[in-house]
Chain length 344, copies 2
């Protein structure tokens, strides 16, 4: 499994990217990594020589997080994102991973790989931790803000394949995001979507469980939730924002309690251990690795705030995605949908 | 100030409603309350006689949280929500407060009160706690899922008046929810909205600060955020869901730490005090009280999970809303917009 990693993308690149990649190389012996970036800057974070299964690929430019994706890609053909895309295009790698400018990663991926047969629009699938320890997948979270009913159906099929193959959910329950669970809610477009999802469920291709609301995503009511990219992107960012505010408040309250004299009694281990676990839990970056579903290839978008652990995890997702045949399963399911006469 | 309170609405009605109303009657000597509900059930939670400024108004029926709003209102004219609406319509009260079926409260309010002059569509404005202790107002969160650009502008004007008059923000910063802060994001509708908000800002009627993303709502980047009702409703529920999962995880981790032997050392007061504060902070119900903006009257929608404190707070919001002339300020601002030639 050959994976290109954008060493320059993300808020803490190249440091955490290099660390995450080295950890992944050690953890996954079947992986050959290509670290793409400015050689000097990458080597600064390597002790001695690079391991055998990690190759440095030179890329002289960097696309900033705030640059216009398409323009930046055109202007910077030797940027780390463009070079990753080139490796994918020339099939020198099976997958790419980047925590850089999301729009540029999408544009480079779409330039590098065709869409899978039958796919109308690619979608980004993000995983959320939920109550009870499960993981729910939300698709799309920003690639598509001009949704048609058939796009929702395709996202349901694609994210179900991902949930099954990579997250190990045997029979992913698919929910349609809505603002009420009654059938009448959400307007005519969502009614049309609902009809399509029901047809696909009757054809045995997805396991549709009906409408779900925003809170249900975190309550584990569905394994896959489909929504339009504007809404999904907003959910992603709002949930992160809310979780972060909760953590900051907790730290503030505890600091108050400490300074008010309870300090000596605080059981540092139990408490800080719990806090650390909570931080990992709320830090969605540790779940790093959202695939761009629908392309004939594999592109994993990591969070800009990724730490080394998130990068390692994104590389693992890339490996599992490519190895377990997600794309073959997507193509197969879409083929069956159309063979069974479901508009797709 | 005369306020009708729906004693039967909400997950824990009538108990917490009666408790919250009695607490409000005691706290706000300028308020005359009408508790609307089944007399026996209400009296069961009152010790002795009702206070002088609390009057019981009989309503024999209850609209369930899952009932179809319009149908339920027609079928149950003597439901507590319908009776509250009737009191508002006959101007026997200045405001109504309900934690019941949101759709039914909206329908009853629209039946009881006309829209303010110039208002196209009412909107629900919810307050979120943010980083640093401020409060941001999100509008709309579910009343309007067929948005036109001018609706966003009107929500900006109305929520600004609310933020100023009720929340005490002198010069509310208005943000437009988008999925990126670049001007190009969000499609043509949001570009049109942006143009209108800029015109209104130039005319001095709102303080527009540009695009904000989901996380910014909780980071205090704006005092008022406008968005379409579908998106806003999803944000509201997702943020609640995420915050609740974080709290549950924290409790789980702490329980583990306790059971693993650190129990004896736990400084119960400091920790449980912090946890209790955090719970209050994350429990959006304690911020209870979202006004339906745009009607010529005052209807405050409380969260279905409201506790007594949330009900008391919702009654306070109703009092402040009616007393401080929010509707007069909205009408005035919309009038000025149109006088200055801003399409509104």
């Amino acid at each position: 499994m050959r994976i290109a990693v954008d060493a320059m993308g993300g808020d803490r690149a190249p440091k955490v990217i290099v660390e995450g990649a080295l950890a992944a190389a050690e953890a996954f012996p079947d992986v050959q990594l290509y670290l793409v970036g400015k050689p000097d800057e990458v080597r600064a974070f390597v002790d001695g020589e690079l391991p055998e299964r990690v190759t440095l690929v030179e890329a002289d430019e960097v696309i900033g997080m705030e640059e216009h994706p398409a323009k930046a890609l055109r202007r910077k053909p030797s940027s780390s994102i463009a070079v990753c895309g080139g490796l994918l295009r020339e099939q020198k790698v099976d997958a790419i991973v980047s925590a850089g400018n999301t729009g540029a990663v999408i544009a480079a991926s779409l330039f590098a790989a065709r869409l899978l047969e039958g796919v109308h629009r690619p979608g980004i699938a993000v995983s959320f931790p939920c109550k009870g320890g499960g993981t729910s997948v939300l698709c799309d979270v920003g690639a598509n803000i001009n949704m048609k009913p058939v796009h929702y159906l395709q996202y349901a099929v694609m994210a179900s394949a991902y949930s099954r193959d990579v997250l190990g959910v045997e029979k992913p329950r698919v929910g349609l995001l809505n603002i009420g669970t009654e059938e009448s809610k959400g307007g005519s477009e969502l009614r049309a979507v609902r009809g399509l999802l029901e047809e696909a469920a009757e054809a045995g291709l997805i396991h549709f469980v009906g409408a779900v609301e925003g809170n249900h995503i975190f309550e584990g009511e569905a394994d896959v939730v489909v929504c339009d990219g504007f809404v999904g992107n907003t959910i992603l960012k709002s949930a992160e924002g809310a979780a972060r505010v909760v953590m900051e408040q907790l730290e503030g309250f505890l600091a108050q309690a400490l300074s008010s004299g309870a300090a000596a009694a605080l059981p540092a281990d139990a408490l800080t251990g719990s806090l650390r676990k909570l931080k990992e839990f709320t830090d969605y970056s540790t779940y790093g690795g959202a695939p761009l579903l629908g392309i004939d290839g594999c592109a994993i978008i990591a969070h800009g705030r990724s730490n080394a652990r998130a990068i390692k995890h994104a590389i693992e997702v890339a490996r599992d995605f490519a190895q377990r045949g997600v794309n073959e399963h997507i193509a197969q399911a879409l083929g069956e949908l159309s063979a069974k006469g479901v508009p797709s």
